[in-house]
């Protein structure tokens, strides 16, 4: 049984884990950098340890410091949150060797799904639909040309070890292929230390739809329905919702089934997300995230399952508490990511929050680690709050989102709130008919 959890993260997700632990009667240890001394996760944890200077590489990414912090506080488990070391197989491995329960999947599963080309191969073998493309990395330009001709333009080049849009190039015709290939390779090398890239067919107007999955140590895997994350900018999600406006019960059943098959193929344990591209009623495996997601709250709101508590229970060896048999998504939930950034240029805007008023009322949930007079440090990502609204249907959820955003007051730093307000009034967003390219043509 887990009695004390060290949270190897910061911000709202660290606080989210602390909340789950408080409800379960589990002690918590916060780790923090020198820049986060006044952070809420430090304040609300039972114990806290300063693990290094502001720069992530020497604090939140320092495996030895985090393990040492677990040792000196006597923690028996580590929750990695998302980002930082959450998908670092080496970290999960070392935690295991130090007799610390890693609240997440096995190092093998992280490794297998972390490499995109290998993940694609695994999906293919499990019978999960994938986009036509190269089987594995393309080493030379000649190989790239052969694959691109076979599957037809446009194509997309992606870093094998990548994520977050880096090392990605879209190429519309053969004339541009060489420069795109070289640019993707050098960017991949710089960002991830590996120049390997692979090629896929590029879909013009896809939706990003992902399935929340959960496996336990008894071998049971469940799929908890979808989240539609098509509202993105620069491959970073802005708004996520469940259910997807484009979904039908038949397609949902197919996607859930495909997601479960893939998890079973890698003996997946704990929470994970399988991302698909969806266009014209067909879906294609994109990648798997072997961690809890930023947008997990959306699924929590429509399933009634506390995913973080479930993670802890499953890591303790308990079976999933999700009832057997079909379950339905209830109502509609939408998450708006509130970032400390310029809503037009998306440039990060760290600084002191001078006023912070959060909305309430029916169907409104705020996950945040910010407060009035909190200084948003420049060293980490710009997410300062997640506004999650819930309604009986999509129209009610949007209406609640609109009025919650109206009453959400943040002063001192620029935020994405004005952008979200504008999106809530956009006829295309309201209609539900949009793709991942929504933001490219959105003007306000």
């Amino acid at each position: 049984m887990i009695s004390k959890i060290l949270i190897a993260n910061r911000g709202e997700i660290a606080l989210r884990v602390i909340l789950a632990c408080k409800e379960m009667g589990i002690k918590t240890v916060a780790v923090h950098s020198e820049a986060d001394r006044d952070a809420l996760h430090v304040r609300y944890a039972d114990e806290d340890v300063c693990i290094g200077p502001a720069v992530s590489r020497q604090s939140y990414l320092s495996i030895s410091s985090i393990i040492a912090a677990a040792e000196i506080t006597g923690a028996d488990a580590i929750h990695p949150g998302y980002g930082f070391l959450a998908e670092n197989a080496h970290f999960a491995e070392i935690a295991g060797e130090c007799r610390l329960t890693f609240i997440g999947p096995s190092p093998e599963a992280i490794r297998m799904m972390g490499n995109k080309a290998q993940a694609r191969e695994t999906a293919k073998n499990a019978g999960v639909p994938i986009l036509p493309g190269s089987d594995g990395p393309v080493k030379t330009f000649m190989d790239a040309q052969d694959v691109a001709r076979e599957i037809g333009f446009p194509v997309i080049l992606k870093a094998s070890a990548g994520g977050g849009g880096r090392g990605m190039r879209i190429c519309g015709n053969e004339g541009d292929l060489q420069s795109a290939f070289e640019a993707a390779r050098s960017e991949a090398e710089r960002a991830f230390g590996s120049a390997d890239v692979y090629i896929e067919k590029y879909l013009e107007r896809p939706r990003h739809i992902e399935i929340q999955v959960f496996g336990d140590t008894q071998g049971r895997v469940v799929a908890l329905g979808e989240r539609d994350c098509s509202i993105q900018r620069r491959h970073q999600k802005l708004i996520e919702e469940s259910p997807s406006p484009a979904m039908t019960p038949e397609i949902r059943a197919q996607m859930n089934e495909a997601a479960v098959k893939l998890c079973q193929a890698v003996n997946y344990v704990n929470a994970g997300t399988i991302e698909f591209l969806f266009q014209d009623g067909r879906f294609y495996f994109m990648e798997m995230n072997t961690r809890i997601q930023v947008e997990h709250a959306v699924t929590e709101e429509v399933t009634g399952i506390d995913l973080v508590k479930e993670q802890i229970r499953v890591a303790s060896g308990e079976p999933l508490s999700v009832p057997h048999g079909d379950f339905r998504l209830r109502g509609h939930a939408i998450e708006f990511r509130i970032n400390a950034e310029d809503p037009r240029t998306f440039a990060p805007n760290p600084g002191k929050i001078r006023e912070f008023h959060v909305p309430g009322g029916p169907g409104v949930r705020i996950d945040t680690a910010a407060y009035r007079d909190y200084v948003v440090p420049p060293h980490y990502d710009s997410l300062i709050a997640k506004l999650v609204v819930r309604g009986k249907d999509r129209a009610e959820a949007i209406a609640r989102g609109r009025r919650a955003l109206e009453l959400f007051i943040v002063e001192g730093v620029k935020t994405s709130i004005p952008l979200h307000r504008a999106i809530c009034d956009d006829p295309r967003f309201i209609s539900g008919d949009f793709s991942t390219r929504f933001m490219e043509s959105f003007s306000w």
């Binding site: 606080l15 909340l19 020198e34 001394r37 006044d38 809420l40 304040r43 609300y44 340890v49 300063c50 693990i51 290094g52 200077p53 604090s59 030895s64 410091s65 393990i67 040492a68 912090a69 040792e71 000196i72 506080t73 130090c98 912070f356 008023h357 959060v358 309430g360 949930r365 705020i366 996950d367 945040t368 407060y371 009035r372 007079d373 909190y374």
Partner: protein
């Protein structure tokens, strides 16, 4: 917690020279900060409220409307700053367990009053079963050793004060 108990706690903090203590009980959170150097006076973290150590109601989550108990300014000088004037402070470069000697049988690397020099080992910090030797980065006399032998230390925590 009643007023009498709070006052007793304040006395204890002052008596023992404890830097800070935080107590949470049945929805009430109390933080008392002491000054290590004289005058021994109990202060609250908020500069606007010098003596009051108010029992704060637990802040509702996830809506922390007010700054939680006015977190201290990061740049605030430590209370014992005066006594450290002119001293060189060596802080821990890593998280781990502080040991004054290479093993339990041997003597401490340094004691208060010893002379040390640049590059000389002062202590060991154990992290992940690795013994990391911490060297002095200055020549001088050791005037204070902050942690106890075997005590866990954080990154940046004070280890030694050296008078150059």
């Amino acid at each position: 917690m009643n007023l009498k108990e709070i006052l007793e706690l304040i006395d204890k903090v002052a008596e023992r020279g404890i830097a800070a203590v935080e107590v949470e009980q049945a929805g009430t959170r109390l933080r008392i900060e002491g000054k290590l150097a004289p005058p021994q006076q109990v202060i609250h973290t908020s500069p606007a409220a010098p003596i009051v150590t108010g029992a704060l109601p637990a802040l509702p989550l996830p809506i922390p409307a007010a700054p939680p108990a006015a977190a201290p300014a990061p740049a605030a000088p430590p209370p014992e700053a005066d006594s450290e004037a002119g001293l060189h402070i060596i802080t821990s470069p890593i998280v781990g367990t502080f040991y004054r000697s290479p093993n339990p049988e041997s003597e401490a690397y340094v004691s208060v009053g010893d002379h040390t020099s640049k590059g000389k080992v002062l202590c060991i910090i154990e992290a992940m079963k690795l013994m990391n030797e911490i060297e002095s980065d200055v020549d001088g006399t050791v005037v204070k050793i902050y942690p106890q032998n075997g005590q866990p230390v954080e990154y940046g925590e004070k280890l030694f004060a050296v008078r150059p």
